[in-house]
């Protein structure tokens, strides 16, 4: 438990990605099996020890502390696990259990034995170890590490391509003994054929403005505005994976149930609007990030996959074939197994670049994100190799907004006010419509930082309110209705395009102008 607690402590306080990678790398290369495997599982969300509810922690603490003192402490600290960790007398002899001991014992223990087990461990732990244990048993570490970042740390620490780790990942189980045997060089790479594991996506590069491609060599498709997914059905087991390799099957049972085939497809996950057409991204968003999904949600926002590519047909690996051959196989595959839950991405037929540019200009009105251009002779290669595939996204929307608040950044930017909240006019006052923290140059950041410091009207901790005098031109991919925001709208991917030092604040955009940019069929669930 001690190295794991030290790791979590380090991750909590280390803002930089590289720092976090280094800490995790050190953990994975120095901690013995099976502890490091359980630690990896905890970081990647694969360890479900959720054996203690908040009420149990309160009851435990109540046995050791005065209830009034506990309540006052909890008020001050604000986090139950941390309050318990800090207030626990912990004056027993130091003897923290190993992480694997904790996992094993909790796995075997009857529910009513858990408090006793925890209390015994807490007595022999430092405050940091107690915090790590309590975070572990209440679920949700919240140390700023995604599963993908943890896998990246593994890849770097063992000098192994991330793709290869991702490919075997979903065929392995905690505490990942086979994985570490392979990474340590003791065993060959785990064989995951016959398992519905995740295969690394082939990614596209943005097409730069003045580039013209030889359209004869490229297959052109719409770039749909959903999320990229991989639908795998192998050996009777089915999985739906997101771009980052997370298993999101449980969130989309409608799609998974309908995958009555053997094979692996690459496609876009979308939901249907009431008229049957693909709904704007906002509708899909209602269904993302849910652990479980109710009947009503399934009925209101039925999901489907629009297939772009085929990786496996039955057990046959098609990835080395050229795209044109894979496309034939895909058309045949969808014709055999397709349904309203699985459709084929239509090809866009153009022979002139100007025609293509016109189509792109019309994508926003169609609710489409842009165009994809893929070389017909390209094999399916994991990762983002430059050349075979391009994405040509629609132009972003822009608005002139007024800077309202600025917040300090993190890591290297912690001495700069680098996160900006901006607003649009509604009647005579400004309402916040978004937040952006990139898009500007280092020089512009220094200028903005200076401006914020010289125009502060109010301070709230790390946040400064500023004079409502500076206009920012922001670019954003789209804008949607949002009941969670005071303005009633939310922007996707807003970034600072230009600082309008010249423009008077009263000439910035009004909220109504932003509302008019909302796609017509967008509706809120």
């Amino acid at each position: 438990m001690t190295p794991f607690a030290e790791l979590l402590d380090g991750l909590v306080y280390t803002p930089s990605r590289n720092g976090k990678l280094r800490l995790m790398g050190r953990y994975f290369t120095t901690v013995p099996d099976p502890d490091r495997g359980w630690g990896l599982a905890a970081l990647t969300g694969g360890l479900s020890l959720a054996s203690a509810k908040p009420a149990m922690l309160r009851a435990l603490a109540a046995e050791r502390t005065d209830p009034v003192l506990f309540a006052l402490s909890y008020d001050y600290v604000g986090d139950l696990a941390e309050t318990c960790a800090l207030i626990w007398p912990g004056d027993g002899p130091r003897q923290a259990p190993r992480l694997s001991e904790v996992v094993d014992a909790l796995g075997l223990a009857a529910r009513d034995r858990v408090p006793e087990l925890l209390a015994g461990w807490l007595d022999g732990m430092t405050a940091g170890e107690r915090w790590a244990l309590l975070k572990l048993v209440t679920g949700g570490l919240r140390v700023g590490v995604s599963a993908r970042l943890a896998k990246t740390a593994l890849a770097e620490a063992f000098d192994t391509p991330l793709d290869e780790i991702e490919e075997v990942w979903h065929g392995l189980k905690p505490p990942y003994g086979r994985l570490f045997d392979w990474l340590d060089g003791r065993e060959s790479k785990p064989d995951v054929s016959g398992l519905p594991t995740f295969r690394p996506f082939m990614l596209a590069h943005p097409l730069e403005d003045d580039v013209r491609l030889d359209l004869g060599a490229y297959q052109v498709e719409w770039k749909w505005d959903g999320i990229r997914v991989q639908l795998a059905s192998v050996g009777g087991e089915r999985r739906l994976y997101s771009r980052s390799g997370d298993d999101i099957s449980a969130t989309f049972p409608d799609v998974v149930e309908a995958a009555a085939f053997e094979g692996v497809l690459d496609g876009e996950l979308l939901v249907r609007a009431p008229d049957g057409a693909p709904a704007p991204f906002n509708a899909l968003q209602q269904r993302l990030n849910r652990k479980t999904v109710g009947r009503k949600m399934l009925d209101q926002h039925p999901a489907f996959v629009c297939a772009y590519d085929i990786l496996f047909d039955g057990g046959e690996d098609l990835r080395a074939l050229p795209l044109s051959s894979r496309r034939d196989r895909l058309e045949d595959f969808v014709a055999r197994t397709g349904s309203e839950r699985l459709t084929l991405s239509e090809l866009v037929s153009v022979d002139e670049w100007e025609h293509l540019a016109r189509l792109r200009a019309g994508t926003r009105a169609l609710g489409i994100e842009g165009l994809m251009l893929k070389r017909r002779d390209s094999a399916y290669l994991g990762g983002r190799s430059k050349g075979p595939w391009y994405k040509w996204k629609r132009d972003p929307l822009t608005a002139d907004v007024v800077l309202m608040y600025a917040q300090r950044g993190h890591g290297k930017r912690s001495s700069y006010y680098s996160d900006y909240t901006f607003g649009a006019w509604r009647d005579e006052s400004l309402v916040p419509v978004g937040k952006a923290y990139f898009g500007f140059t280092d020089e512009e950041l220094r200028e903005l930082d200076r401006w914020v410091r010289n125009h502060t009207t109010n301070r709230f901790g790390p946040v400064r309110e500023v004079d409502k005098d500076l206009v920012l031109e922001v670019a954003f991919d789209s804008i949607h209705p949002s009941p969670r925001h005071k303005s009633g709208v939310a922007m996707r991917f807003p970034r600072i395009k230009r600082i309008r030092w010249d423009k008077p604040a009263r000439e910035a955009d009004r909220l109504e102008a932003l509302e008019r940019m909302i796609p017509a069929q967008a509706s809120i669930a």
Binding site: V12, P15, D66, E82, I87
Partner: protein, 352 residues
């Protein structure tokens, strides 16, 4: 036969029966006032006669007429405030007694910072001890706290919650040294309060064998010089502002907390930001400050030290001045003490 001593004791005894502590010590907006001596302790605004417990800005303010304090505290006030430190000074060594009006007064070490003192007041056969700020653990820059048995103990409660338990200093200094060794290409920037914490951290590092130059933000230099003159040896110190970026790789830099995340720190090579404070015990507090390496090093008593001290001085009555007084008052009442919170204005929540 006359027995003046006995008679005096007898009278004192009668007075003690009649006199309540509140009759001669009161808490006003201006601070703690001793009526029979007509003076204030750590007044919040300029007073005719002020007894100052220690040199921190929320206790020692400028502009008093007569200032009574330890010689070290007077030196600190003069270094900070110059002409405004006070008009007349009466240095009082620890244990030396003076009479002010009908009250007797002496100072006992508080172990908080150099010169810090508890104020012991005696009147009408009663003894009240005003602790000022204090801690119980060893501090290589000042003499240790001395418990003084009394009738009323007036205590601080900065860390008056049982979640505050400061670890051993050695552990925290060890973590700092380990981080310096682990990141030889980065500077280590440690936030410290200019008076006390700064010099204590330096002394603890020296005791741990760190003998390289330590770089200081300009705001820390004057008090480090003064500590040196008052006999606290700090080893080689340099001005961080005069060092170039490469010189600061792998170096230890001390700065006031306000400079940690501000423009000043941009001159440092990829600094690891640390902060030496009792508040660092709580993660959220450390993260709010953008601290990467929280060092739980405090000049205030933690919960165990507060409760231990209340037991040691064995005062039946406890007044709690500032901090998280609710919890300490509750604890003391549970243990059978008469305890109450004084609403004292002007103390800084963050300062320590």
């Amino acid at each position: 036969m006359m027995d003046p001593g006995g008679a005096r004791r007898h009278i004192a005894c009668i007075m003690a029966l009649r006199t309540k502590p509140e009759d001669w010590i009161s808490v006003t907006d201006a601070g703690i006032h001793c009526r029979p001596g007509n003076f204030y302790i750590d007044p919040a605004r300029p007073a005719e006669r002020a007894v100052i417990t220690h040199g921190h800005g929320d206790h020692a303010r400028p502009g008093n007429t007569d200032v009574i304090a330890t010689p070290d505290t007077i030196a600190i006030m003069q270094a900070r405030y110059g002409e405004d430190a006070g008009r007349r000074f009466q240095p009082l060594a620890y244990g030396e007694t003076i009479e002010l009006g009908d009250a007797r007064l002496w100072l006992a070490p508080a172990g908080h910072v150099l010169g810090s003192a508890q104020v012991v007041l005696e009147y009408a056969g009663q003894r009240i001890v005003v602790s000022g700020d204090y801690k119980r653990r060893r501090d290589p820059t000042c003499p240790p706290f001395e418990p003084v048995p009394c009738d009323v103990f007036v205590t601080e409660a900065t860390f008056g919650l049982p979640v505050f338990r400061h670890p051993e200093d050695g552990e925290e200094i060890g973590r700092l040294l380990a981080s310096i060794a682990a990141f030889p290409e980065r500077a280590h920037l440690v936030g410290v309060y200019a008076l006390g914490k700064c010099q204590r951290v330096i002394r603890l590092l020296r005791e741990a064998g760190y003998d390289r130059p330590i770089y200081l933000h300009g705001a820390l230099a004057a008090l480090c010089d003064l500590y040196g003159r008052l006999g606290v040896e700090l080893g080689p110190l340099r001005a961080a502002g005069e060092a170039d970026k490469d010189e600061l790789r792998g170096a230890l830099v001390l700065a006031p907390p306000g400079a940690l995340r501000d423009r000043w720190s941009r001159r440092l090579p990829e600094p690891v930001t640390a902060m030496a404070s009792g508040w660092m015990r709580v993660r959220q507090r450390a993260r709010q400050r953008g601290v990467e390496l929280p060092l739980v090093l405090s000049d205030h008593a933690d919960w165990d030290e507060l409760t231990q001290t209340i037991s040691d001085v064995a005062a039946p009555e406890l007044w709690v001045t500032h901090g998280r007084e609710d919890a300490l008052v509750h604890w003391a009442q549970q243990k059978g003490y008469r305890a109450r919170a004084l609403a004292l204005v002007g103390r800084e929540e963050e300062a320590e």
